[in-house]
């Protein structure tokens, strides 16, 4: 249900995977590469993943959401490697009988994936700088529902979300 790909994401193939004549609702999200980051023009962008853990963590998140929202299906594909502005970095789609559950699941999936799936964005800027981006550009968001974070380390809740909140978008 969670995949990584170095090739451009084919929306049609993803949509076709999520098809069920009993389901009336389909919601999808695309995260597209933007031409700027905090006012700096982005000239190059790469995503790096820790594949094995990204897939297991991504699947854990999607399976929990599928059950929580009673979905017929939920799917996420994340790009790795170099991307151009406007390309799709991540695609999430869900189908179900009720549309509200689909909206909630896709939105929550994106939040949780941004928080805990080991994928990193490396950006190069027009001024010659580059950075390993520290967190999502949407750091104003409320933390996603805690209830499905059961796969986390036994030492306590995964602190990434909290760190993001406090630090915003610090550069290294």
């Amino acid at each position: 249900m969670f995949r990584l790909t170095e090739a451009p994401i084919e929306i049609r193939a993803m949509r076709d995977t999520l098809s069920n004549p009993a389901c009336g609702g389909f919601v999808s999200f695309e995260g597209r590469v933007r031409n700027h980051h905090q006012g700096s023009e982005v000239v190059k962008l790469e995503y790096e993943a820790y594949p094995k853990l990204a897939i297991s963590e991504g699947n854990r998140i999607l399976a929990a959401l599928k059950q929580k929202y009673g979905l017929s299906g939920i799917l996420c594909v994340h790009r790795t490697g170099e991307l151009s502005v406007g390309e799709i970095a991540v695609w999430i789609g869900a189908i179900g009988v009720h549309r509200r559950e689909c909206f909630a699941a896709v939105s929550e999936a994106m939040s949780l994936i941004k928080e805990s799936v080991p994928i990193w964005k490396h950006e190069w800027y027009a001024n010659g700088d580059d950075e390993w981006v520290r967190c999502s550009h949407e750091h104003e968001e409320a933390p996603a529902d805690q209830v499905i974070r059961h796969g986390r380390p036994p030492s306590g809740p995964h602190p990434v979300a909290t760190i993001m909140k406090e630090d915003g978008r610090r550069r290294y």
Binding site: Y47, Y50, V90, I119, V133, P153, H158, I163
Partner: protein
């Protein structure tokens, strides 16, 4: 021959920021103690990782692990800097 070492060997993999700092993806390391925090502190000093341990997650053998876990010989260890997918 007499083995004087009481330590253990582990493999450390580097991703993203840590790979950039270490300028390598993987290395074998001999440890004198089994605490992952000691390993992180040593690597942080060696490669000038710009992140306190509190900002980093520990993964052992492809699973998130608590920092008080004792490393075993042959473990594959990954330190996870803050993620930024999506």
């Amino acid at each position: 021959m007499i083995e004087t070492s009481v330590g253990l060997d582990v493999t450390v993999e580097y991703f993203a920021l840590f790979r950039s700092c270490a300028r390598k993806s993987l290395e074998k390391i001999h440890l004198d103690e089994s605490a992952p925090a000691a390993l992180y502190d040593a690597l942080r000093a060696r490669y000038r990782f710009p992140l306190a341990k509190e900002l980093v997650h520990l993964v052992v053998n492809d699973e998130y692990s608590p920092w008080d876990k004792a490393l075993q010989p042959g473990d594959r260890v990954v330190f996870i800097p803050p993620v930024s997918g999506g």
